[in-house]
Symmetry: C2
Subunit: 215 residues, 2 copies
DNA sequence: GGATAAGAAACGCAACCGTTCACTAGAAGT
DNA sequence: ACTTCTAGTGAACGGTTGCGTTTCTTATCC
């Protein structure tokens, strides 16, 4: 269904690129090595972000990457192995925790970093993967540890600095309180879908987090 | 995989029930009508709760309900139709909003109702369905409107009564603040899986919600 | 020019969908 | 009690989709 349509589009593009059409800029050359590998991983991430884990098929990935299944299987022995690398590929590097001198600005900066992640294709794919009931529990646990926990610690750090400045109620500096911001962003994402607007973060900080943290 | 194991179990059970074993209490008679229908719906809900939407297959449902595909297709023309009825079947009736005279007790009661729902098979199935990226967006929207919004309104009502008693900061009576409790429970469920313990709710109320709501 | 790997197409296999058919248990009517 | 009729059971079917493999042609790198 969506598969047939996708395939049709791919065919059309590839047909055009084969010869004759000067408006086709890319896809004129046959990619190799790292170039092709990142194209395949990008395709996998994009597919998961758009259609969820159920849409991730080797044939779909190959088609979206404008290549063949053989080139995919030459690099990854199975769909699960491709999934692992695609998730690693989607994971952004950990940003430095901001220190602006005020809790409000620190929280805004931190939540905006999180917003950028959650609104990106990689973030969508990550959500789709982590909340997929049929996915590998072990791999999900690994991703949680690598992605979620360091970011939660960044929130705790911001709260601790706010406490030292007298801005934050001392007993609010705990992991449970620290995860209120991220939890509400995830909740907003799950309830109303992407993109989560920037205004949501501002309202979240001013109407929920600051009243919660005030001494 | 899990499929083969399930089938094996089903076969074993049915084989035993066919004849000879007096320790088989159920499955001696051939069920009909409403009896069989609820058995099929229960099977569908259980399958979604355990293995997610990807595990929901007509053959799996029929096997889990100890019946044949024909009996399933006689009632529901397609998997989607079965899914709709299974979700309705999983939905609990709306409980009455408690009024204990204190915000703390009201919130505890309300969140415990939510906890009972989220920890039940129906609640797990509901989660699996609503957060499935490949599910029907329209049906998800309907479920959100029928399940989420009335419950969110109950939280707003509790907050409003608390404001009238002077327990709650007046500008905390808004939907955004009201969804903090549910959002954190959902977040806990998604991060650490079921069951969400009762102690989590108590800690949530005392360490997060009451500080957030205090005047 | 030769080694390597990309592209494209087929293959067998398995799972599942939705349908159909023959058989039979149980309910209803006489 | 006997018959009739409904509906549950169990098994097959053709069709589709996706997995993982294989083969062959051809572009690209050295």
């Amino acid at each position: 269904m969506g598969k047939a349509a996708l395939r049709g589009v791919v065919r059309a593009v590839k047909g055009k690129s084969l010869r004759g059409d000067p408006d086709e800029v890319l896809a004129s050359t046959r990619r190799r090595g790292q170039d092709l590998e990142t194209a395949i991983l990008d395709a996998a991430v994009g597919i998961i972000a758009c259609g969820g884990m159920a849409a991730l098929t080797m044939e779909g990935v190959a088609a979206a990457a404008h290549t063949g299944k053989a080139s995919v299987y030459r690099r990854w022995p199975s769909k699960e192995d491709l999934l692992v690398d695609a998730m690693s590929h989607a994971l952004p590097p950990l940003e430095v925790v901001p220190d602006t001198g005020s809790v409000r600005e620190d929280l805004l900066a931190l939540l905006r970093i999180m917003l950028g992640l959650i609104n990106s294709p990689g973030g969508c794919a990550l959500q789709a993967f982590m909340f997929d009931n049929s996915a590998d529990k072990h791999l999900i646990a690994v991703v949680k540890k690598r992605v979620m926990e360091p970011r939660q610690q960044m929130f705790v750090d911001v709260l601790a600095r706010g406490r030292d400045r007298g801005e934050v109620r001392p007993d609010a500096v705990d992991p449970r309180t620290a995860e209120v911001g991220p939890a509400l962003i995830v909740h907003q994402y799950l309830m109303h879908g992407p993109p989560v607007p920037d205004a949501f973060v501002v309202e979240l900080v001013d109407n929920v987090l600051l009243p919660l943290l005030r001494p």
